[in-house]
């Protein structure tokens, strides 16, 4: 047992949070110590006192409480390294995302890109080649074993099939020439021909496929350009992927009118397809859906919980982008990590949701352009530095939040749309993030035996996040 006389110099972890939960209890969570337990007000006040250098012997007469807190490294746990990593210097990415087109073969009701409503742009092969050359040569300079290429929106990448396949051929040849590996992924809506499916299975490492679950929901919200339902076509693609053992993840979007059916949709997917990872997001109030009712509600949280239970019962994984209990980071996505995405016109954007120079926040997210003198790119370092600063450690609003090292301040683009400035002041997504994060912490305690959770092997440190949402 602890000797009370030795406790005067005890230090409390700086990153420790007390979260009021049901029945008057408190969830104590130290994210960088990977520790948590549920307790009563006496212990919360004891912790607050320790933080002030006070040891209340009346609450801990035999020292067992302070021993417990030391066991969890909440007290006297040593140096607490913040998971902050800042990018600096001229970007030298080894991964390129090609926004192949703004055209699309679907007319999803909630499309953030309003694909099909704007003039169609198509990337030329020369634009793709320049980007591939740039990242491949960076990989050589950095002694990396591989470089990466991703095909993404605003529109459906496979609509620009000619450039997609030619770019892939070029990247493959480049990798062979330089002795590098190549990882290639794509987002897709899954409305593909059989020959396209064959090509994807034969050439790509993985895809993120958008599918909303029950055929009636898919057909309602993801119709083709002629207004027909797309569920048959997409489910055909998923069956073909399953037959081939091809790795893909699903990206589900939930609109306010379909929240209650989310568990049913998830069960439909699990019962009929082999996909292991399903990512679900409330529909963004952007593009065609900017005036629609929000789905970022408490009803979404309840539906998510029920859907999560369904996926667990099938041994599958359901996730929501801002809840990442196993990730400790200051970066939500690639925008703070020099993400290198090329628009159809060849300019450099950091954000998947800013795919074209005429997007609302293009002046924030577009930070580079082709440099014909060098064959590479010219970067606007002032814009880039502003993007690099959008990490959670620079967001005053987030400093008192227990989820901050997991959500890392969430999506900067959505925050801009909510607040209209880069002074983040919270969003409805924050509530969703906190509730689901709480669920996950409590589940970890239950899984660890029901009394406390302490993952001593994974203390806080920098862990990079993927810039490619949905392509993990």
């Amino acid at each position: 047992m602890a000797d009370p006389d030795e406790l005067a110099g005890s230090t409390l972890s700086k990153e420790i949070f007390s979260i009021p939960i049901e029945d008057g209890h408190y969830l104590i969570y130290a994210p960088l110590r990977r520790s948590a337990f549920v307790t009563n007000a006496k212990v919360v006040n004891f912790l607050a006192d320790v933080g002030e250098g006070i040891y209340d012997r009346a609450i801990d007469p035999d020292g067992s409480l302070i021993d417990f807190l030391r066991e969890l490294q909440i007290v006297d746990g040593g140096v607490e390294e913040l998971p902050v990593h800042a990018f600096e210097g001229t970007p030298a990415p080894t991964a390129v995302t090609l926004f192949l087109t703004t055209a699309c073969n679907l007319r999803c009701t909630y499309c953030y890109a309003s694909a099909g409503d704007t003039p169609a742009k198509f990337m030329d092969l020369a634009v793709a080649k320049r980007g591939i050359d740039f990242v491949a040569e960076n990989a050589v300079r950095q002694n990396r074993p591989q470089f990466e290429i991703t095909f993404h929106g605003g529109g459906e990448p496979t609509v620009n099939w000619k450039t997609m396949t030619a770019a892939m051929d070029y990247a493959t040849a480049k990798a062979t020439q330089l002795g590098l590996g190549l990882r290639a992924t794509s987002a897709t809506n899954g409305v593909l021909t059989d020959s396209q499916i064959d090509w994807i299975v034969g050439n790509l490492s993985a895809v993120s496929l958008s599918f909303d679950g029950l055929p009636s929901i898919q057909d309602r919200h993801r119709p083709t350009t002629t207004g027909k339902g797309s569920s048959d076509r997409v489910m055909h693609t998923m069956r073909r992927f399953d037959q081939a053992g091809f790795r893909y993840g699903l990206r589900m979007t939930v609109t306010a009118d379909q929240i209650a059916r989310l568990p049913e949709s998830v069960e439909f997917i699990c019962a009929n397809f082999a996909v292991e990872r399903i990512k679900v997001e409330p529909a963004y109030q952007l593009g065609r859906w900017s005036e629609a009712p929000t789905a970022e509600t408490s009803a979404f949280i309840e539906a998510y919980r029920a859907a999560h239970a369904k996926t667990e019962s099938y041994g599958r994984k359901l996730s929501y982008s801002a809840v990442r209990l196993d990730t400790l980071t200051s970066h939500f996505c690639g925008i703070t990590q020099d993400s290198f995405c090329l628009s159809p016109d060849g300019n450099v954007s950091a954000c998947y949701e800013n795919f074209s120079e005429d997007n609302k926040w293009a002046n924030v997210f577009f930070y580079g352009q082709p440099d014909d003198e060098t064959g590479g790119y010219r970067f606007d370092m002032q814009k880039l530095e502003n993007l690099r600063r959008q990490t959670v450690n620079h967001k005053p609003y987030c400093q008192g939040c227990f989820a901050k090292w997991h959500c890392a301040g969430d999506c900067h683009h959505k925050a801009l749309n909510v607040s209209g400035t880069d002074k983040f002041s919270g969003s409805d997504r924050c509530h969703i993030t906190r509730e689901i994060t709480k669920d996950q912490i409590l589940a970890r305690i239950a899984q660890a035996g029901g009394v406390f959770w302490h993952d001593a092997g994974r203390q806080g440190s920098y862990q990079p996040t993927e810039g490619k949402e949905g392509l993990e």
Binding site: L12, I16, F17, S18, I19, P20, I21, E22, H25, Y26, I28, F37, V38, T39, N40, A41, K42, V43, V44, N45, F46, L47, A48, D49, G51, I59, D60, D62, S64, L65, D67, F68, E71, E302, R305, A306, A309, E312, S313, Y397, C398, G400, C401, S425, G426, S427, D428, R434, D439, L442, A443, I445, A446, Q447, A448, G449, G450, V451, F452, H454
Partner: protein, 137 residues
């Protein structure tokens, strides 16, 4: 819409009138739970019991054994036992409100067979940790 700033850093809260520091056990969320987390929490544990659980958790991580603690003819015994080899108990002399849990299958809280003083209500499942005072067969 305004979003209040989050204030979750540890700070003093209103005392709830409880007499002692307690840790509240967390049960597994049933898969059919639809609304909230009611019924998710057990009865608070005193710190002395928690200390035992904390140290046994550490022991398990180190040697993959389970630690059992009991009274053998009035003498406290604490030892590591390989999972699956924990003996059953015929008698129990404790006034036992302790929580049992099974590190091998932590999703399922184990009903404590020791309802009160007197004989055990049943064998303690293999691999579980018992913090009550039982007499080994």
């Amino acid at each position: 819409m305004k979003h209040p700033w989050p204030h979750f850093k540890v700070m003093r809260v209103l005392d709830d009138g409880s007499k002692e520091a307690q840790i509240v056990p967390v049960n597994a969320l049933p898969l059919d739970t639809r609304f909230g987390r009611r019924g998710f929490f057990g009865v608070g544990l005193a710190m002395t019991a928690v200390g035992v659980l904390a140290s046994t958790g550490r022991a398990k991580a180190q040697d993959a054994n389970c630690r059992i603690q009991y009274l053998q003819n009035g003498t406290p015994v604490s030892k590591n036992v390989p999972e699956g080899q924990v003996p059953s108990y015929a008698t129990c002399t404790c006034n036992c409100e302790d929580t049992l849990y099974n590190p091998a299958n932590p999703y399922t809280p184990i009903p404590n067979p020791c309802a009160s003083s007197g004989p055990c209500g049943g064998p303690i499942p293999a691999g579980c940790v018992c913090t009550c005072n039982c007499v080994e067969n």
